[in-house]
């Protein structure tokens, strides 16, 4: 298929997010400027009103996420974008979106941390914050990507998962992916499936239970301003959405909130494989780190070494079964990431051979190179550096 010339773009990662969001049907964006995610807000401040949507710059990241949750309850597809410190401020409202089951997409373009850290440098240090940043037991969905075509696709997928499961979805990118430029082919309308919200079929005048789940666990919704009036609360609530301290209701709700994602980890899982089949050394990576990992794999394949790459595109729920199966029988597994081993430890937990799992990483604000990974690979194998 030869795409129309106008659909072929040479754009920045943050623009690929904006384009993907518009393709998915984004209608409402609220945000606050922060490096290195600001371009998403800048682009959408122009593009979204052209598409009939709404853009608002809020007073902080707390308000940004709260505002999109409010807008989502009126029936709109919503998104906000931020980076490290702003993502920290959003943790409270992420918990609220989880508890109230309001579809929303949150982009975190990771930079060096903790605190203000390295604002213009690359890092992948927010992986576990995306998982556990908000308080209390919960589950979360989080996607990532290493190429801009995939950034576009994963942005669309983030909306689809948010709408399907009525959950916040965290699109966890990094500074390199967000700021590099690459070719992106914008798919024709309909080429990627777009999932719309599941609306209730309960007619006006009949009792509508906003938190009464269908057998498949999905919750049909009624929007604010519609014919059904109901209560939404961050407190433990019953099927009416009214606060409850009943232990049975609390137990059932928490189970549901976790199970709806964790029990479907495999259907939510997104990944790519490169030379995995016969690899005796398997690299596991994600985001921009996966670009260097792939380069190393291809370089070493030329010399006959059997390296392969498993690129994770969904980080949470953690695809434990798939990771366990992929690591089985490998001579060694090397997790490549730009943090102190946040996915490395998850992989070790998931596999039957934790002693064969190793880490190749950088956390100094410098992009990890194929040479960096090779140095660590040689060291692990006792070949010196």
């Amino acid at each position: 298929m030869s795409p129309e010339r106008s659909n072929v773009k040479f754009i920045q990662g943050n623009e690929a997010v904006a384009q993907g969001a518009l393709y998915a049907g984004l209608q409402f964006y609220a945000g606050y400027p922060i490096t290195p995610s600001t371009e998403i807000a800048e682009i959408l401040s122009r593009r979204l009103p052209e598409e009939g949507g709404t853009f608002i710059q809020m007073e902080d990241e707390i308000a940004s996420l709260c505002t999109i949750i409010g807008a989502s309850l009126t029936g709109l597809k919503v998104m906000t974008a931020t980076s490290g410190p702003g993502f920290s401020l959003m943790q409270e409202a992420i918990g609220y979106a989880i508890m109230t089951e309001v579809p929303s997409v949150i982009v975190n373009v990771q930079r060096g941390g903790p605190s203000t850290g390295l604002p213009t440098s690359v890092a992948q240090g927010d992986v576990l914050q995306a998982r556990w940043g908000t308080h209390g037991d919960h589950a979360i969905a989080s996607l990532t990507a290493s190429t801009l075509q995939d950034v576009f696709l994963m942005t669309v997928e983030a909306f689809n998962i948010a709408e399907t499961f009525r959950t916040p979805v965290i699109l966890l990118l990094d500074e390199v992916v967000a700021h590099m430029r690459e070719k992106v082919v914008i798919p024709a309308p309909g080429e990627i499936e777009i999932i719309e919200r599941l609306w209730t079929s309960v007619p006006e005048g009949t009792n509508f239970h906003p938190y009464l789940r269908r057998e498949d666990g999905r919750l049909p919704m009624s929007s604010f301003g519609g014919v059904h009036r109901y209560n939404v609360t961050g407190l433990v609530h019953d099927m009416w959405g009214f606060p409850s301290t009943d232990p049975d209701i609390a137990y059932d709700l928490l189970h549901h909130l976790v199970d709806k994602l964790e029990n479907r980890a495999d259907s939510i899982a997104r990944h790519k494989e490169y030379y995995v089949e016969d690899a005796d050394i398997l690299l596991i990576s994600y985001g921009s780190s996966a670009r260097s990992a792939l380069q190393l794999v291809m370089d070493r394949r030329k010399g006959g070494e059997r390296l392969g790459l498993f690129e994770m595109q969904s980080l949470w729920p953690f695809p434990s079964k798939t990771i366990r199966a992929k690591c089985e029988g490998r001579r060694l597994v090397l997790v490549v990431e730009m943090n102190r081993g946040q996915i490395y430890h998850e992989v070790k937990k998931a596999v039957s051979c934790p002693e064969r799992i190793f880490l190749a990483n950088r956390f100094d604000g410098v992009f990890i190179s194929p040479a960096d990974i090779l140095r660590m690979l040689n060291m692990i194998q006792g070949k010196g550096v």
């Binding site: 505002t67 409010g70 301003g225 009416w240 009214f242 606060p243």
Partner: protein
């Protein structure tokens, strides 16, 4: 419609203590909606956290009980998502002005078409009587047994300074005035702030020996006066009630003001 038709009776009894003023505010809210002839499906209430914020669960509108201090941010999203709906944010004083102070001043600055209904009982009631930004100097709280050492905000002055285009104050003693003011605030196009002085006999009154709910309401009668009242000349300490600001300014997002020079 009768008052009870606006209540979600399934969720009663309510959580408020005997003598609490918040039920009077709820009644004022219902009467205002009824007088305006608004349909229940046209009204959204977005509250934060605290005793006052529980008001939303009891009322049969579209209701959202959100995070401490964040009601106005959530309400902003609802209003921008559905500009045809009437959106009211009932909040407590600590909720609106301590943890939610930033959202409050920015909602006022934007002049977004929302009504902030602040139930000011001068204390954190839900957690048992700690000082709020509305606790007056030297009053006792659970975290300041010798009396608070910092002055309180004046909600009216704060709202004016931040750019709210409608600002009013009343009390739970003045129930009819309360309804009239809520009606005006909802009708107003732009950000409207209504401070309702609402008694907390258990956690504010008791610590400061102010008597029961009735006694505290009598103080609202005797300690306040209408704006510009002659009584104020004789008793300068009286707190004024009424509409302080009512300006006709285009609400967010259509605020391009034409140059008239």
């Amino acid at each position: 419609m009768a008052v009870k038709d606006y209540l979600r009776q399934r969720f009663f009894p309510h959580i408020w203590c005997p003598g609490c003023g918040h039920g009077i505010v709820m009644s004022g809210m219902i009467r205002a909606v009824e007088q305006m002839g608004l349909k229940k499906n046209e009204v959204v209430l977005v509250s934060g956290i605290g005793c006052s914020s529980r008001i939303v669960g009891y009322l049969d509108f579209h209701t959202m009980h959100t995070l401490h201090g964040r009601a106005l941010a959530f309400a902003t999203g609802v209003k921008l998502g559905r500009s045809d709906l009437t959106v009211v944010a009932p909040m407590g004083d600590g909720d609106a002005l301590a943890i939610g102070g930033n959202h409050f001043i920015h909602a006022a600055r934007r002049n977004i078409d929302l009504t902030a209904l602040i139930m000011n009982n001068r204390i954190y009631g839900m957690t048992g009587g700690q000082g709020s930004p509305m606790t007056p100097l030297r009053m006792r709280t659970a975290t300041a047994e010798g009396g608070v050492q910092t002055p309180a905000f004046d909600i009216v002055e704060l709202a004016k300074g931040a750019g709210a285009s409608f600002v009013a104050r009343t009390t739970t003693f003045h129930a009819k005035e309360l309804t009239r003011i809520i009606v005006k605030a909802i009708r107003h196009k732009g950000f409207s702030v209504v401070e309702v002085m609402s008694q907390c006999p258990l956690y504010f009154g008791r610590q400061n020996k102010l008597g029961d709910g009735v006694k505290m309401m009598e103080w609202y009668r005797d300690g306040t006066c209408t704006i510009g009242s002659k009584k104020k000349e004789a008793q300068p300490d009286l707190i004024e009630r009424g509409v302080f600001v009512d300006e006709d300014r285009p609400p967010y997002p259509n605020q391009d003001v034409e140059d008239t020079d």
